[in-house]
């Protein structure tokens, strides 16, 4: 998994509280406070834990898909990445392996034109990503990533082909990154405000879908403002609860490196605890010792 797909988790049933617990690294975080915010993972929801490295998850998805195929499961895997990720070796390794192994996996590329400050013209000179799938012998779909229904239908078709025909499918969803890459990024340093505003005002996929549901009589402005205020309250509540919850205990620093604590880690835990006793002022008070 990459760290841009909280929507998938939300859809599968990850609660706002579970999101908040991970972001605050409290004792209820399944990752035990070990990773940066938005590195979610859920065994219950079949969602492998996110790592910060780019595209390393792609070969994993192929291996996992091979396992599903060997177990004769009516299922496929799906993995997500951006345009920048397609320059990584792991992207090419994964596509080639998936094609050769006939693994039921969907590669979903969110081509939003920017890898932090690097535009796609400095990323590749091919006609986008979709042609790379074809070159590996993978059936590939290019879809307007700002058209919710088109994306839904493309993924639905991809899933059917992947499972029924035991084959990988690549989807390239063309879109634009309106926001900054992260809280430490100011994207107006490398692209024009006009460009951003153009996409925001005229091509916003949320606006587009809203218009469709409103025109279809499925949704109204009142429904929307109610939902927004309701979700806002729930998020704030989840954040408050997560913030108050204590951090994971110190023991969690040492567990899970291996299935059992080896002797060197037992020794290092004793040393750390001795130092804490001597210099308690050096350590955060909210981590239970």
């Amino acid at each position: 998994m990459q760290y841009r797909e909280p929507g998938v988790l939300l859809w599968r049933g990850f609660t706002l509280q579970e999101f908040a617990n991970q972001c605050f690294g409290n004792k209820a975080d399944y990752g035990k406070g070990r990773q940066m915010p938005i590195h979610y993972g859920s065994n219950k929801l079949n969602y492998f834990t996110v790592s910060s490295t780019i595209a390393t998850q792609l070969p994993h998805a192929v291996g996992a898909a091979y396992s599903l195929k060997m177990d004769k499961r009516d299922a496929c895997t799906v993995t997500y990445f951006g345009d920048g990720g397609t320059s990584e070796g792991d992207f090419h390794a994964a596509l080639n392996f998936a094609a050769v192994m006939e693994a039921p996996v969907i590669f979903l590329c969110r081509n939003n034109g920017w890898a932090i400050s690097t535009p796609i013209s400095e990323q590749f000179r091919s006609d986008g990503v979709v042609v790379k799938g074809q070159a590996y012998g993978i059936r590939s779909i290019r879809v307007d990533g700002n058209d919710t229904l088109a994306v839904y239908n493309a993924v639905r078709a991809a899933r059917e082909m992947a499972i029924n025909e035991h084959r990988p499918i690549l989807i390239e969803a063309l879109t634009y990154r309106v926001g900054h890459h992260s809280t430490s990024d100011d994207s107006t340093k490398y692209r024009s405000v006009d460009e951003i505003e153009h996409w925001r005002m005229t091509r916003d996929p949320v606006d587009r879908f809203r218009k469709w549901v409103v025109n279809s009589g499925l949704w109204s402005n009142e429904d929307e403002s109610e939902l927004r205020s309701d979700v806002r309250k729930k998020i704030l509540h989840a954040i408050q609860v997560a913030e108050k919850l204590e951090k994971p205990p110190l023991a969690d620093l040492f567990t899970d490196v291996y299935d059992r604590l080896p002797e060197n880690l037992c020794e290092q835990e004793r040393l750390v605890r001795d130092t804490i006793k001597k210099h308690p002022q050096d350590y955060p008070s909210d981590v239970p010792v």
Partner: protein, 364 residues
């Protein structure tokens, strides 16, 4: 340069610390190292229907013949070639291994972990592998808070000098991986050890890198029990008792060290020789106990001396046994050059380099 393989034969019976069902050592056939590995892989595939072997040229039997016959016996879906791409092989293996976490949950059963055995017939030598091993395999359990793991993964790779390998076919990269929490690194010294340690590595619930001494594939011959047995990880073995100095090594280097011990004995020096077997997490206690007895330590490995695992052993023993040490810890290792071709005999930590260091340390 020749290595006296008959020495290996005399190490004979499986360690008494063997934790498998091998309490008595039934006699086996005399086989070489690659055949012993082949037996271990055969047993692994036979005892766990969810085990797979894949990698470069695995299907026809491998460049070193370690996977001979396995594709025929277990099918092309479980023993197969992959494209020539190391990062893809390891990444694929991680995903395959991690699926056991989901199927276990769904079936609410405690199965043995799914075993993947990856084979690199040549050598781990591609830096593109780094991210998959270091950032992915090693951290998979820790970063998920133990929701997921890829502990079924075992990565087999040849390592070490072979007399004509040059830069890329002779490297000993073990210390790189010893600096990565979450991995285990195991190196056997002989056919019998290789079979038992490989089966333990495959069944260990953590990712293991298993380095096979390339030089010994055909050269090392000893009696190997045909049945399923395991030798414990993270337990060193004293393979020669002595009182004057402790020698620590692993893999192919032990045969040279054994020969140096023989020569030292003729000069009246009694050496204790320890096979570390598992480099991380390593068995400090056995080495410490020996150094407390002898007061002197020599470590030897083929990898370059600077930053090699010998440095870690020296530092740890200096911490634990400082007042007991009667001489500086000696390190007889490879030079800090790329592994050379023509100059290999000069690069290598040879028997006489070891012997000289034994004498110098004992007479310090």
């Amino acid at each position: 340069m020749s290595i006296p393989m008959l020495r290996l034969a005399k190490w004979g019976l499986i360690s008494k610390r063997c934790f498998s069902n091998t309490t008595t050592c039934e006699s086996g056939k005399t086989v070489n190292l690659f055949s012993a590995i082949n037996q271990a892989l055969d047993i692994a595939l036979d005892t766990d229907p969810r085990s797979y072997i894949f990698g470069e040229d695995v299907s026809f039997g491998g460049v070193f013949r370690c996977t001979s016959g396995l594709a025929d016996r277990y099918g092309k879906h479980r023993v197969f070639n992959t494209p020539l791409c190391e990062q893809g092989i390891v990444g694929f293996g991680i995903g395959l291994a991690a699926m056991i976490c989901i199927t276990d949950r769904e079936t609410a059963q405690l199965q043995k972990s799914s075993l993947q055995i990856i084979s690199f017939p040549l050598l781990i030598r591609h830096e593109s592998l780094w991210s998959q091993i270091v950032n992915e395999a090693a951290k998979f359990r820790y970063r998920s808070g133990n929701q997921f793991n890829c502990g079924g993964l075992t990565i087999r790779s040849p390592y070490g000098a072979v007399g004509h390998g040059g830069h890329y076919h002779s490297q000993s990269p073990e210390s790189f991986f010893c600096h990565v929490p979450g991995l285990k690194v195991v190196i056997p010294r002989s056919p019998q050890q290789a079979k038992g340690l490989l089966l333990s590595s495959i069944r260990d619930p953590n990712p293991v890198i298993f380095f096979e001494p390339k030089w010994l594939y055909r050269l090392a011959v000893e009696e190997v029990p045909e049945h399923d047995y395991m030798l414990p990880l993270s337990e060193a073995e004293v393979i020669r008792q002595g009182n004057d100095i402790t020698l620590v090594g692993w893999g192919a280097q032990l045969a040279l060290m054994e020969k140096a011990c023989d020569d030292a004995e003729k000069a009246g020096i009694s050496c204790e020789l320890i096979d570390l077997k598992t480099l991380i997490p390593w068995d400090k206690e056995t080495v410490e106990a020996s150094v407390r007895k002898t007061g002197k330590l020599l470590v030897s490995h083929e990898a370059p001396v600077t930053g090699g695992f010998g440095a870690e052993i020296s530092a740890s023993i200096a911490e634990r046994c400082f007042s007991r040490l009667e001489a500086p810890v000696a390190r007889i290792c490879g030079l800090d050059t790329p592994f050379p071709l023509v100059f290999e005999p000069f690069y290598m930590p040879t028997k006489n380099k070891i012997l000289d260091a034994i004498k110098a340390t004992v007479n310090y």
